[in-house]
């Protein structure tokens, strides 16, 4: 594996059981993602994009194959080990933001830091930096219900980057936004990729969104298409 390869997938297979029926979602997938990459994953519904993102994020384990991220064999980890690994290495950005409605912007962003040993002051500094990066310092005291969709997604991005993860995984991050707001969010992601050197993997149906990525891979019936 090359030194700058962050993610290395070899012969990844994923099979689900729907009742007694066996459904093969990913079959013999090979892929390498370099550090600092911004990859768009596209494909029709049911092509295995979300399943692949689940595997990359340590939310699920492959049925077969090897999945190495930053030297860690993800496929060998237990459920508890995966939980700890996720906290350290991955930031998630969802289509519907998934913020905690009972917490303010500031506290939503601070949430992942509860899992660290940072002091209150250090946590505050991290949160301020993350909010500054997404341009929401002036909304720190607002609750999600007081924010627009675009602002909510910015908070979600701040939450994803606050613990300085290796990998940012975005699942349709602009799927719930209008074009203009979507462009702003994509600009922000590109900025994080270029200026902060964050490795981003983004699942999207939107070709315009995919254009913001450095490269695009198409997935169909569980296999990559060139």
């Amino acid at each position: 594996m090359e030194a700058d390869v962050l993610v290395d997938l070899k012969q990844i297979e994923k099979t689900y059981f729907r009742g007694k029926e066996q459904v093969k979602v990913l079959s013999g997938l090979d892929m390498e993602i370099k550090r600092g990459d911004f990859l768009a994953l596209m494909g029709p519904s049911g092509s295995g994009k979300s399943t692949l993102l689940n595997l990359l994020g340590g939310l699920d384990s492959p049925t077969a194959g090897s999945l190495i991220i930053e030297g860690d064999h993800i496929e060998r980890m237990s459920r508890a080990q995966l939980t700890r690994w996720r906290a350290r290495h991955v930031g998630f950005i969802f289509q519907f933001y998934n913020l905690m409605p009972v917490l303010t912007t500031q506290r939503n962003v601070e949430l992942p830091l509860l899992l660290t040993k940072l002091s209150k002051k250090q946590r505050r500094q991290h949160v301020d930096t993350a909010l500054q990066l997404v341009g929401l310092q002036d909304r720190a005291g607002h609750y999600p219900s007081e924010l627009s969709g675009g602002q909510e997604q910015r908070v979600a991005i701040a939450r994803a980057i606050v613990s300085d993860p290796t990998l940012l995984l975005c699942d349709e991050p602009t799927g719930d936004l209008d074009r203009q707001t979507a462009d702003e969010i994509l600009q922000l992601l590109r900025q994080l990729n270029e200026q902060q050197n964050k490795t981003i993997i983004m699942v999207t149906h939107d070709p315009i969104a995919a254009e913001h990525a450095k490269r695009t891979l198409n997935l169909n019936k569980g296999a990559l298409q060139s």
Binding site: Y16, S50, T51, L53, N54, G57, L59, D60, R79, A80, T83, R84, R86, A87, R88, F92, F94, N98, M100, P101, V102, L103, R107, E110, L111, P112, L114, L115, R123, R159, D171
Partner: protein, 385 residues
Amino acid sequence: MTYLYFIWRNLLRKKIRTLLTLLSITVAFILYAALGTLNYAFNMGVDLAGADRLITIHKTSLIEQLPYSYVNKVKSVDGVASVTHASWFGAYYQDPKNQFPQFPVVADEYFAMYDTVVLPQEQLQAWKQNRLGAVIGTGLVDMFGWKLGDRIPLQGLYGRKEGGRVWEFVIEGIYDVKEGEVADTRTLFFHYDYFDEARSFGNGTVGWLILRVDDPAVANQVALEIDALFANSAAETKTSTEKVFMESFAKQFGDIGAITGAILAAVFFTMLLIAGNTMAQSVRERIGEIAVMKTIGFSDLSVLLMVLAESLALALCGGLIGLGLAWLFIGAVAGNLQAFLPGFAMPVGVVFSGLGLALGLGVLTGMFPAWQGMRLSIIGALGRR
């Protein structure tokens, strides 16, 4: 932000629902404390009962009197160490509402029998020298503000030979409970001789006999012998240990323990359903949020503990508020009930068992939703397949 803050914010998610659940838990604990206190008050005599003391009453009922001659006859029974007697006087002070126990007794004998109370020697002597003398407990001092030397007129159940029902006493002593002991301090004791000579009926009788046995192990045998001694007489007796006597006395009002137990079981079973439903609903509503927390890196255990902490906080808050309000309420009404229930004060045991119950309620109501949260599959909850 701390975990506690997050738990607190989650509790306030649906303020009205949380408030209503909290209120229902509070009411349940007020009821628990009030009934627990009532039960304690009714059974207080039982707890004060000595293991080596026996009580002999008329076989028919406590109201029937025993001939005074029984005192000496019982003294002669093998195994009996000492005997004294007491009678029900049933008077009130100024107003029929101001009732409290008064017993005509033999000064030396009675206070030797009940050694959990302490009366200064000089006051005992002063009492013995004054035919109209009486001693009272510190509880009565608190109730009526009486002091040594006060002349107390009581309206008696018994008429006086010389006419009228007013009995006058001079307070010659104030007894208190020995440190570390428990005893009723709201009783007035006066001389049996004075009572028996002055009363217009029932002369030469006593209410009940109190005796101490040489060895508590043979108490039941002594009781049988005493009752056999008076079998087939005009006044047959029923002798039992003081504990059994007190229990049967308390049960005149019904089995308070069973009644309060049944009410509380029903109340807490209902509470279990109400609070359990609230917690289950609260967790169901945020399945997605819990899944996101797990995605971020919160462990299964931390999710379990957070949900459990919410239900515990709810139950403990409700419990503490309920017990606190009950304490205030009981303190406010205790004065009016002292004549009938001298022990009507919230015992520490009720507070601790209440807190234990709140803890149990919190764990039981939070256990299932917490377990559900812990076992939650991120992929299933977020629909990510």
